[in-house]
Every structure is written in structure tokens, then in C-alpha cells.
Amino acid sequence: MSETITIDGKEIPFKAGQTIIEAATAAGVYIPHLCHKPGYKPHGSCKLCTVNVNGRRCSACTFPAATGQAILNKTQELEDNRRKITQMLFVEGNHFCPSCEKTGNCQLQGVAYYLAMKDNHFPHFFANRELDASHPDLLIDHNRCIFCNLCVRASQEKDGKNVFAISGRGINKRLIINSKTGLLKDSDIEVNDCAVQVCPTGAILEKRKGYSTPIGQRIYDTQQIDQVSLTQETVYE
């Protein structure tokens, strides 16, 4: 008999060493997340996956599952908080979904739809962020970076490189590039690197590819992010 936790009253088995989100995903329970990705070291920074474990708030992507945990996930309060976090991400950067080439394939947008976010709610920061188009095949639009750290981890863990880092704190936080000029063109990044493919938003993009997938055939055109996540993110390495 394997050990179990409960999520919103449902009994769910887990294996030793699994985090709550891993056990939940394996059992078909979606917990909203952005900085978490199966197969990557947990980072625990976006806080979208916050759940209530025996009365305490924890990040499901970092917190280990343990016998006897009674977990609340889909409560009004938690969903409201997640929506607020998402709204804060929207006002902090410059996310113009209507003309963004990642529309329909973007996890930030997918999560916003899932959480029924109807507006930005908070005043917009109008952050002055830049675009690094120096690389012949790649582009970074810093306006759309949510500091999930996935590209940093991907470059180190999967590509065996060290192209990205997050520098600064709070409002001054920014994604920096490990090259002598600070520009992408002088780094050793390549188009097929995991660090490029992993970006959940439209911050790191392959050039000249935008809009080639017609409306109706994009990832979130036919399925909401919870279904996509549960069908495509269940493989843990």
C-alpha cells in the first residue's frame, strides 16, 4: 500500500521524494504554476502553486508530499490570490497579448484565462524594458520576461552552458546574459537549446517564426492550460 495525501478531499498516492505538485499531476490534479516544469529543479519563485497544507501556505512545487497532509488547492481564496499574482505579473512587464506572437501558445496567458482574469486590476508599471535582437536567429523581448528562471536552469542543467542569470532584486530584477557585451549575439546560445524552447512566455523567441501557426491550431486554442499540463507534463525524468 502506497502512502497518500488528500487534495481538496480526494485521496492521492505519492512516492517518497515527490513534491506535492508531482504527486498531484500524476493523479490528474492540476495546480496552477509558471516557474515549475517537470524535469527541472524546483525554483519556488512565482508562488502561483501556493496551496494550503494542514493550515499552512506552501509552494506545491517545492514542498515534499508527506503522509497525512490535508491539502487545499482549488479554493476560492487560493484562486483569488493566484489571479492577483498573475495580474501583478501582467502589470510588472509589458504584455500585449493581442499582437504578441506567443498568443495562444503562452503559459502566462493560459494561466490568466484559467484563473478567469478579466483585467489587469493593478496600475500598470509602464516598465522601460529592452529588446535584444542582436543574435541572428534569436530574440529576447525583456518586456515579457516573468523571471521564472527556467531559461537559467535549462541552460545550466540541460544545455551544459551558462547563458542566463537573474540579477538585482524586487523592482530592479532583470534577466542578464553571460557574455562580454551582455548581448545575446556574444553568448554561446543556439536555437535548439532547451533554454530557448523552455520560455513559458514570449520573452525568448526564435526569429522570423511568429504567427506561422494559424489560429485554431495553437496549444491553448482547443484546450485549457490545466488539460494541456496534465496531458503533456506528466513525464518526470
Binding site: P98, E101, A133, K207, P214, Q217
Partner: protein, 498 residues
């Protein structure tokens, strides 16, 4: 004709009447009249009072975003901007119009015909039919589409359905009814499936029949109100637009032709990539909308009109049979040469609706629209110009990019801007001939709006430009007197002047 009415000599002594906003047009504009003590009109102007910043906004963005970014200029004719930008970025990837895969070329044309059809139907039935069916000075409560639906249910409903069909064409080709995708550099991102094609084919015969009916309707309205319809707001002018190589009516791609008021060709088959050599724009202090003119003729003589009336005056024929027959009847209005009547814009517009419907039918019968050979590429270039005939007239998009694919420069000349002088001329003519010396009433003022509306101006599109435009602020008292005025000049200097 009434140039003296552009600027009155001593405006401070005059009464001011403002029509603000001009209703049933796209965007926000206002008309001001200055009257003397006998209600004689001394000054009449159409001003554009909103201000947007697209050209600046586009700079710094990667070029492939352009077709999707710039279509946000407008909620009425987004497809026109989408396609003009797409034609421009085709050139950035080294693809000239003749090298576009046939499937992509035809799908873009299909999309564009759908757009012109829906935009024209919207304008005629929703915005203008109340004036045309009930009279320009009819009860204000009657002047709307609801009244048309009550009084003339068949006509009203056909208008709604014609528009809807155009939107369906757009949706099938671009994925959404407004602001879809579709065109990408060097081609299209999808073709039509057989079921999409069949869906559109199902209704096209009916659409053609309704389009024919609407041409008959406007012809009847026009001809039973002569000579009024021929004279109202009418001004002889030059006309500019694209025509096919053989001189046929063309919306998607062709050479620039301009004719003068007598029908003489000023220029023909000009490669639009060189538009800068032929067209310049003048800025005037009292409006945000610029005044384009043909350089060959100069600022005073070189202004021209664009849009349905211009296209029908410019082309030698239409290559679909029903619309061609309608064109021949239409041209008799101008003794077979030029039709200058501003209200004939409506008639020309509906002939174009018929042409769109016929063209959609033949494209739907063309197997190429289901082909999967959709994109091509050539050698990178650093400059691209895309020009099409949008519903409201010739639309120019011009971009420059750097070696990193980032837009460094953008210039747009939208259709409504080309009609700026024409609209102002029409406003002055109506003010001088129909309003001057009379006690002004709302129905009488509607005449001004009727004149502007004939052009189907899209004032949101027309104010996309950002730059160092002067700004004028007027303070008006209860009697309508200007009691204070602040002017911000090009150089940022503020002046108080009365």
C-alpha cells in the same frame, strides 16, 4: 471653390457652431463653423481631435509583428492594414508580389474581398442608409439602423447579412472575424479546408443577388433625387488609386494611376514603391490630419480623392460581368467621363460590393485556395513598401528595418488622410450653399455630416501619426464665443492668442 472659408479674417467677432462628435463615422472628428451676425458662414473646418501614436509605437519591434500589430490601428478595416503590412514585409524577406505562391496570393485576395464587402456593407446599411432612405433633414430619432430595420425590414436585414458574410470570409481565412492572423512574410499561414470552402460557397449566390439589389436601390435613390444628388457637396477633383496592368478595377495589387477632374491621366502604372517621389503631405495647424498632394501639381492643385468614387473614375473596366454592367450605368452619370458627385461615393461603394461578391465566387471555385504551398522566401532586404486599395481608398505602408530585423522607420498614409482636403472642400461647399444665412438647426447641420459620411472616413486610422504636431486648445463660453485660446507650436512653444 470655397478656399476663402478655410480661415476667416477676424474669427474673434464670429459666432461659433460645433458639430462634435460627427456621428456615424469611424473615429472622432468635429466640424466648426464661424458665423457672422447674419448667420453667414465665414469659416468651415473638419478637425480631427484624437491623436494616436502608431508610427512611433512600431519602431523597435521585429518586422514580422507588423501585420498583426498595425491591424490594431482600426477595428473596421484591420484586414487592410494587415495586408498592406504583409505586402511590405514580403519585400523584407525578398518576395515581390509576382513571386508570392499563387495560393497565398489568392487567399489574401479572398480575405481582402471579404473585408471590403463587410466594411462597405457596414457603412452603407448601418451608417448611411438612414440619411439616404429617410432624407438628410429627417427626424433625428429616425436616423439610425433600427429605424431602417423597422421601416424597410428587407433592406436592413440584407445589409446585416451581407456584412456577416464578409466577416465569415475573414474568419475562415484568418481565424477570427476581427484581428486574426493569416498573412505572414512571404505568404499565408493556412489555406482553406474543403469544409470551409463549402461553407462559404453555400451562400454566395444569395450574396451576389443581394449585392445586385443594393446597387439597384442606390441607383434609384440617386436618380430620383436629381439634380440634388449630383450637386450636394460635389467638387470636381483629381482621383488616385491602384489599377490592374490592363486598367481594370483592382483592390489588392496594381500600379498607381491618377486622373484629373476632366478625366485626363496625370500618371499611370507608377510603381508604388516610389510613392515618395509623387506624393507629399502637408501639415496644417488646426487639425491632426495631414493633407497629401501630388508633387507634380503642387500643394494647391495637387490634392486628390481616393476610395470607391476614385476607383470607379480611374479604372477602364471591371473584370466581373455584373459589376461591369453597373459601372457602365454609373458612368453615364458623368456623361461617361468623370463622376464628381460626392454622394455618388455610395453608389460606387455598392458596385464594389457587387464586384467583391462576384470575385469571391470565382475564388471559391479555384482549387488553389486549398493548396498547401503557402510560403516562399528570397533574399533579405532592408526596406519594404506595401500598398493596397482599402475600402476607403489607397493605403500606404512603408517600413525600414536594421540588420537585426528591427523596424527603424515607419510611414503610413491612410485612405482617409488622402480624402482630408476633399472632405473639407465638401464641408465648405455645403456650409456655403445650404447653411449660410439660415437659422441653424440640428437637421440642417446633419447635412454637414452627410457630406463627410459619404467619404466613409475612418478618423481613428487617419490620426495614427505621432510627431511634433501643433495642438490647439479653445475655451468657449455659453454663447459659443471663444474666450481664450492656447496654441502649442511645432517647437513646443506655447502661445496665448485671441
Amino acid at each position: 471653390m470655397y478656399e476663402n472659408l478655410e480661415t476667416a479674417k477676424s474669427p474673434e467677432k464670429l459666432k461659433r457652431v460645433v458639430v462634435d462628435p460627427v456621428s456615424r463615422v469611424e473615429g472622432h472628428g468635429k466640424v466648426t463653423l464661424l458665423l457672422d451676425e447674419n448667420n453667414k458662414v465665414k469659416q468651415a473646418r473638419l478637425h480631427i481631435v484624437e491623436f494616436r501614436g502608431f508610427e512611433r509605437f512600431i519602431q523597435g519591434r521585429p518586422y514580422w509583428e507588423l501585420p498583426v500589430l498595425v491591424q490594431r490601428l482600426c477595428g473596421i478595416c484591420p484586414v487592410s492594414h494587415h495586408l498592406a503590412a504583409a505586402k511590405a514585409i514580403d519585400q523584407l524577406v525578398g518576395v515581390d508580389p509576382e513571386n508570392l505562391p499563387p495560393a497565398a496570393d489568392k487567399l489574401r485576395r479572398l480575405l481582402h474581398f471579404g473585408q471590403v464587402l463587410q466594411s462597405h456593407a457596414l457603412h452603407f446599411f448601418h451608417l448611411s442608409s438612414p440619411d439616404l432612405l429617410f432624407g438628410f433633414e429627417s427626424e433625428i430619432s429616425q436616423r439610425n439602423i433600427i429605424a431602417v430595420l423597422n421601416e424597410y425590414p428587407d433592406i436592413g436585414l440584407q445589409g446585416v447579412k451581407l456584412r456577416k458574410y464578409g466577416q465569415e470570409v475573414i474568419r475562415r481565412v484568418s481565424g477570427k472575424r476581427i484581428h486574426g492572423t493569416g498573412a505572414i512574410a512571404g505568404g499565408m499561414n493556412k489555406s482553406l479546408t474543403k469544409s470551409e470552402r463549402d461553407y462559404l460557397q453555400k451562400d454566395i449566390k444569395q450574396i451576389i443577388a443581394w449585392a445586385q439589389g443594393s446597387v439597384a436601390l442606390i441607383k434609384k435613390v440617386h436618380c430620383s433625387n436629381l439634380p440634388y444628388y449630383d450637386d450636394f457637396a460635389t467638387i470636381p477633383s483629381n482621383y488616385l488609386g491602384l489599377v490592374k496592368e490592363n486598367g481594370a478595377l483592382e483592390f489588392y495589387h496594381g500600379g498607381i494611376r491618377a486622373k484629373d477632374a476632366k478625366g485626363k491621366i496625370i500618371m499611370d502604372q507608377i510603381d508604388y514603391c516610389n510613392y515618395n517621389d509623387y506624393i507629399h503631405e502637408e501639415v496644417r495647424s488646426w487639425t491632426y490630419m495631414k493633407f497629401p498632394y501630388l508633387t507634380a501639381l503642387g500643394k494647391e492643385e495637387g490634392w486628390y480623392r481616393v476610395g470607391p468614387l476614385a476607383r470607379l473614375n480611374n479604372c477602364d473596366f471591371i473584370d466581373t460581368p455584373l459589376a461591369e454592367q453597373a459601372r457602365v450605368e454609373f458612368k453615364q452619370q458623368g456623361n461617361g467621363v468623370m463622376v464628381h458627385s460626392t454622394l455618388a461615393f455610395h453608389w460606387a461603394r455598392l458596385i464594389e460590393v457587387l464586384h467583391c461578391a462576384e470575385s469571391i465566387e470565382s475564388l471559391l471555385n479555384d482549387a488553389d485556395i486549398m493548396s498547401s504551398d503557402l510560403v516562399t522566401q528570397g533574399e533579405k532586404r532592408f526596406e519594404g513598401v506595401g500598398v493596397i486599395e482599402a475600402p476607403r481608398g489607397t493605403l500606404f505602408h512603408h517600413y525600414e528595418v536594421d540588420e537585426n530585423d528591427i523596424v527603424t522607420k515607419a510611414n503610413l498614409i491612410v485612405s482617409t488622410t488622402s480624402n482630408n482636403r476633399g472632405m473639407n472642400e465638401s464641408v465648405r461647399q455645403v456650409a456655403a450653399e445650404y447653411l449660410s444665412g439660415q437659422e441653424l438647426t440640428e437637421p440642417l447641420l446633419n447635412n454637414l455630416e452627410v457630406a463627410i459620411r459619404a467619404y466613409d472616413p475612418c478618423l481613428s486610422c487617419a490620426t495614427h501619426a505621432v510627431g511634433k504636431m501643433p495642438l490647439q486648445l479653445e475655451l468657449v463660453d455659453a454663447e459659443g464665443q471663444i474666450i481664450d485660446k492656447l496654441i502649442k507650436h511645432n517647437d513646443g512653444q506655447i502661445e496665448r492668442n485671441l
